[in-house]
Symmetry: C2
Subunit: 338 residues, 2 copies
DNA sequence: CATGCACGCGAAAACGTTTACGTAATTAAA
DNA sequence: TTTAATTACGTAAACGTTTTCGCGTGCATG
């Protein structure tokens, strides 16, 4: 083992082997300009000295970072943490590093993060946007400046790849399921109302009601606020005043307040009120009673979004379609009782 | 607005203002060498042109990345996703970026990731180590090379900060709770057996039994495997053969198989068998029946670990103690029925 | 009037790569 | 044999910062 005193960089390798740093660099990058013999000498010494290229220098010169950013509302959410797993799996395959940024549904933070990524910190961005506003002008500009793929929570009509799920269809199907179980006063717990996903889910709900001759009632709609206690009170008020026979929750965050509200009001699930929710909760089947869910393929969404981004980064042709739509799954359990 | 054609860097700012790039750089960094008048000129133009420093160049020259890495087994785990939230909160305060690496309990991946971080990609590392092995030699070397803080899953006896919880005490307390509820044959669902946390939890369980004159029985111990079906079968076998009156689970991953096993065996919780588990599941109170949990302060652990790392990075004195121990909370619910 | 000293700023090197270009030696084509 | 092409490598510039050192000016001090 050679002297390990000084830092081991390309210069050091060149010195020890009595060749130029250009040759070392090219050898390390497996350039056709370098003979196999020389490459082997370089590779062996690099391994022996535990050489790894300095990323800052490499980034600076080549303008590539081998890093992507994931900008999402929150990590502590089953959907997003699963998405990250999918993203990470693909990133590993491509040898990329993954930066995480949480917006906490704050659009200013969202802008600040993405802006700070434009100076060459990352090669591309994967994002699921904040639900607090729908500000497509900002993103219309952003997608011109950096490769970006939206997943689940997207901005429509932008020149960017979007990976989503069949929100409308599955919400329609779920609503029909409730109707088939005998429900006629189906309340809707409304989340993501500013986003296409939220609107599609709501549209699926409305259209399913109409298709079965049921009117959509404003009174049966509760909108999500970022306040646990408030949501609980809203649902209790809904249950008390308008006596719905089902709660269709469009986001996971409503599950706990919905169950709690029913308990506190002494309402039996599913006998007196049925519950169905969008959710990636792994313990849905253990709830009391077990919860009928629409689960999105979060892991696959992450994988698919990451794959698209890497295709773009590698200048590969995207399969014509910019909108990738994956299927969600409706799993019927006790909370809808049939 | 000036010409936005070319890239906006320090050189560009210098040209427009007719000063040197050195002055611009110093002004941007608020150096005492520069007059307030010049600073203001620079700051204003920088803002106008939307200048942000190139991180690669900055990193290369200054050897600081304003980036930390979080190396954990898996994001899709309530404990870790909450930890990440805590870490992120602190990182934002310090203006740091956060890289995420998942080891999936694979020690080779763990080594590969951490090694790839030693070339100046990050300023420091936060990690919760893999449970598959206990290989402290590797980490003994690692902590000499880069600022590193362990959280929850740590290597002991190393010269590094470790943020953990009161595993022994809380496991003792939880076991006593089961005993007070009348249990005498308390089975132990053993996870993290290679790690200090896992050993401490088990020790707390054993000592509590002994303190109450109950012998520890090998037969009542089931060890975790990374195989859902296998764990389920093991627990069913345990329940069938040895008829324990309680299951004490040391990790969240046992909850679903434990509940399922009881259901499939037709055993009533908590009447015939009580269940208690370490867990950060937000829906613990909604389970059927609601689950008595030991919940670790995951968010705070992340915060605390990050704070320590930044203290180290800023050369601040650490409050003498290298071991920070936070308290877990035992929440009694229906599954232990008293 | 000479000396010393802040003050404000600039010149230039340095960080560790990548890469365009040049060049010498060897081989193939004419 | 001459010329062209290929192979294998080296030189040096470039990426955008930070930082050391030095210089000139103005002011106060002796």
């Amino acid at each position: 083992m050679k002297n390990m005193g000084e830092a081991v960089n390309i210069k050091r390798l060149a010195q020890e082997l009595n060749i130029s740093i250009a040759t070392v660099s090219k050898a390390l990058n497996d350039s056709y300009e370098i003979s196999l013999k020389t490459k082997n000498r370089v590779w062996n010494l690099a391994k022996e000295l535990n050489y790894t290229p300095n990323p800052a220098a490499s980034n600076l010169r080549s303008n590539k970072t081998k890093t992507i950013a994931v900008v999402i509302p929150c990590v502590a959410n089953n959907f997003f943490s699963l998405s990250i797993m999918g993203i990470e799996e693909i990133a590993r395959q491509y040898g990329y590093h993954v930066l995480i940024y949480q917006t906490h549904e704050n659009i200013e933070a969202e802008k600040a993060f993405t802006n700070s990524l434009l100076n060459g910190r990352v090669d591309g961005i994967l994002t699921s946007v904040s639900s607090s506003e729908y500000n497509s002008e900002y993103y219309a500009n952003l997608v011109k400046k950096i490769p970006l793929v939206f997943f689940d929570r997207v901005y429509e009509d932008l020149d960017a790849v979007k990976v989503t799920t069949d929100d409308y269809e599955i919400a329609f199907e779920a609503t029909e399921h409730l109707i088939e179980c005998g429900c006629t006063k189906i309340a809707y717990l409304f989340g993501l109302e500013n986003l296409p996903a939220g609107k599609a889910r709501f549209a699926g709900y409305c259209d399913a009601l109409k298709a079965h001759g049921i009117a959509v009632s404003e009174q049966l709609i509760v909108k999500y606020q970022d306040n646990e206690e408030f949501n609980l009170q809203q649902i209790k008020e809904l249950l008390g005043k308008y006596k719905p026979d089902a709660l269709f929750s469009s986001i996971e965050e409503f599950i706990i307040p919905a169950y709690c509200a029913c308990r506190e009001m002494g309402l039996q699930i599913p006998n007196e009120v049925k519950i169905l929710s969008f959710s990636n909760l792994s313990t849905a089947k253990l709830l009391s009673p077990s919860l009928t869910t629409i689960s999105q393929p979060a892991f696959e969404i992450g994988r698919e979004a990451a794959k698209c981004l890497f295709k773009i980064l590698n200048n590969k042709q995207l399969d014509d379609e910019q909108n990738i739509i994956l299927k969600s799954v409706l799993t019927k359990r006790e909370s809808t009782g049939c």
